[in-house]
């Protein structure tokens, strides 16, 4: 595959709670809309049960990944959801995306597992700002967070609050890339894809 600068990119926007109506939805929608307007092909990969796979929201296709009931894991103190991770990785592999942008540590875990299979880049862009009461409140939460920050190819902040939270709680200086700024995202995507393409051609 060539990485021509004009070629539209297939971007997986991985957010398990997309469609739940919460504020992070807006970030994903804004980014999806901006990428689509710029001629790219974003797809939202989610766990949220509302709607069915393939349905488009604002002309952006949505892939819904099933999981098992989370209640037993919740009772045992785990940071849920977790059970959708295998199906999310499978959906990412099947989708043939150029790169994945994950919006939570759990989403990043799926995306990083996908990268280990296909070798494509992963961006961690937390939709909710890290806060002290949410960074280690459940089992695996801190480990997922450390992995999301340490193992992603890039960490970016979609809001100023997220940028400040990443610095304060994770000591990560992440650049602020607003979701509506498709140009800035595209520059980052192509920069990250360059080494991946070089690996593919060698």
């Amino acid at each position: 595959m060539t990485e021509g600068h004009d070629r539209p990119l297939r971007v997986a926007l991985v957010h398990h709670a997309f469609g739940s109506g919460a504020e992070p939805d807006r970030l994903v929608r804004d980014l999806a809309g901006a990428l689509r307007a710029a001629g790219h092909h974003p797809t939202v990969v989610t766990k949220h049960r509302v709607g069915s796979s393939g349905v488009t929201e604002g002309r952006v296709p949505v892939v819904r990944c099933r999981g098992l009931p989370e209640a037993p894991l919740l009772r045992r103190g785990f940071a849920v959801p977790l059970t959708h991770l295998p199906t999310t990785v499978a959906a990412l592999v099947k989708g043939g995306y150029d790169l994945a942008q994950a919006f939570s540590p759990t989403d990043a875990a799926a995306a990083i597992a996908w990268r280990e299979i296909v070798g494509r880049p992963v961006i961690f862009a937390p939709a909710e700002p890290p806060r002290r009461d949410r960074v280690a409140d459940r089992r695996l939460r801190l480990r997922l967070l450390e992995r999301a920050v340490g193992d992603s190819d890039a960490a970016i902040a979609p809001t100023e609050e997220c940028r400040a939270g990443l610095l304060r709680w994770l000591a990560v200086e992440a650049p602020l890339l607003e979701p509506a700024d498709a140009d800035a995202h595209e520059r980052l995507y192509r920069e990250l894809l360059r080494p991946a393409a070089a690996r593919g051609q060698s």
Binding site: G77, R132, A136, D137, R138, R139, E146, L170, A171
Partner: protein, 322 residues
């Protein structure tokens, strides 16, 4: 012109850069005026991590945070704390750990208690961090609950007069673990009181581990035998003067019952106290008992490993502690 710094906070850090960052954030929120205290962190992080975690922090910008880096793998809690308090400038030295989150009024309360009891060692209260209470649902957790004054005077929340540290020569760097208990016992031996400061609260991390992970983590406890050998008076705090805690006592009794029961069945009754304690570990409700029952095999393996580790330590240091 600002007066002298009243209290220096000393932190030894290893393999927990994020938790250290969170500790610094908690210290940044202290209500005690900043001119009255400072922080010394002694760590073994690489320069890039130290710069990212420590030198890009508000306390560093404010000029009240210093850090001392040592070569990776050369540290121990005792050595790092000694380096820390020796380079601290205040007359009072407050110790906490890199997996702790002091409440905002922690230093203010400690200092007030120190003024009421000059010359005393002050032990604050430590509790599992309420922000991490959800993790307590895990079968194997590591955290700390201390209502002062406890027998072990852990360094997660304690204040020493600097003069006393100098007189005692600081922490025993030969001790792999229990160096904080050792120091407090030597302080008591020279007539220093350890007074409570229950309002000075530190929240301790709640970390869940897998069974192999917790077994690996607890390997170091076999060195407690060294501590007991050095301070026989510590036996007064131990059940039957031999067992480190009640869990170890009943685990050993249960093991004896199970092994003996193969030849003489009534001996199996010795395992009953362990089974009863284990079933109540999570609480009296039916669901809690069911969870405790499911967790019993893992807990038994963990406790047996701890007893076996202490038996090894007993042989190594030639004193019996189980």
């Amino acid at each position: 012109m600002p007066g002298p710094v009243a209290v220096s906070v000393v932190v030894a850090s290893h393999a927990r850069p994020l938790r250290l960052r969170w500790l610094l954030n908690a210290l940044e929120e202290q209500t005690l005026p900043r001119e009255s205290w400072n922080v010394v962190v002694v760590h073994d992080y690489d320069p890039a991590t130290a710069k990212r975690v420590l030198e890009r922090h508000g306390l560093w910008d404010a000029g009240i945070l210093r850090h001392v880096g040592i070569a990776p793998g050369t540290g121990s809690p005792a050595r790092q704390r000694n380096l820390g308090w020796r380079s601290a400038e205040a007359e009072l030295v407050a110790f906490t750990d890199d997996d702790c989150r002091p409440e905002p009024d922690w230093l203010e309360r400690l200092l007030a208690a120190a003024r009421r009891a000059p010359g005393d060692v002050l032990q604050g209260a430590t509790r599992p961090d309420p922000l991490e209470a959800g993790v307590l649902a895990a079968p194997h957790v590591r955290t700390m609950l201390i209502e002062p004054v406890g027998p072990f005077a852990q360094t997660c929340n304690i204040l020493y007069p600097r003069g006393l540290l100098e007189r005692l020569g600081g922490f025993d760097e030969r001790a792999v673990t229990g160096e904080d208990v050792d120091l407090s016992l030597r302080a008591r031996a020279v007539g220093t009181r350890i007074s409570p400061a229950p309002q000075a609260i530190v929240n301790h991390a709640v970390e869940s581990h897998t069974l192999p992970g917790i077994l690996r983590q607890n390997l170091k406890w076999h060195h407690l035998a060294y501590l007991v050998k050095r301070h026989p008076e510590l036996r007064q705090e131990l059940p039957l003067r031999v067992f480190w805690d009640r869990d170890h006592l009943w685990t050993t009794v249960a093991l004896a019952g199970i092994l003996g029961g193969r030849r003489y069945r009534p001996l199996l009754a010795l395992a009953v106290p362990y089974a009863v304690r284990s079933s109540r570990r999570r609480g009296p409700a039916r669901r809690e008992r069911a969870v405790a029952l499911v967790e019993t095999p893992g807990q038994a393996i963990r406790q047996l490993a701890e007893v076996a580790g202490l038996a090894y330590g007993s042989a190594r240091y030639r004193t019996l502690v189980l």
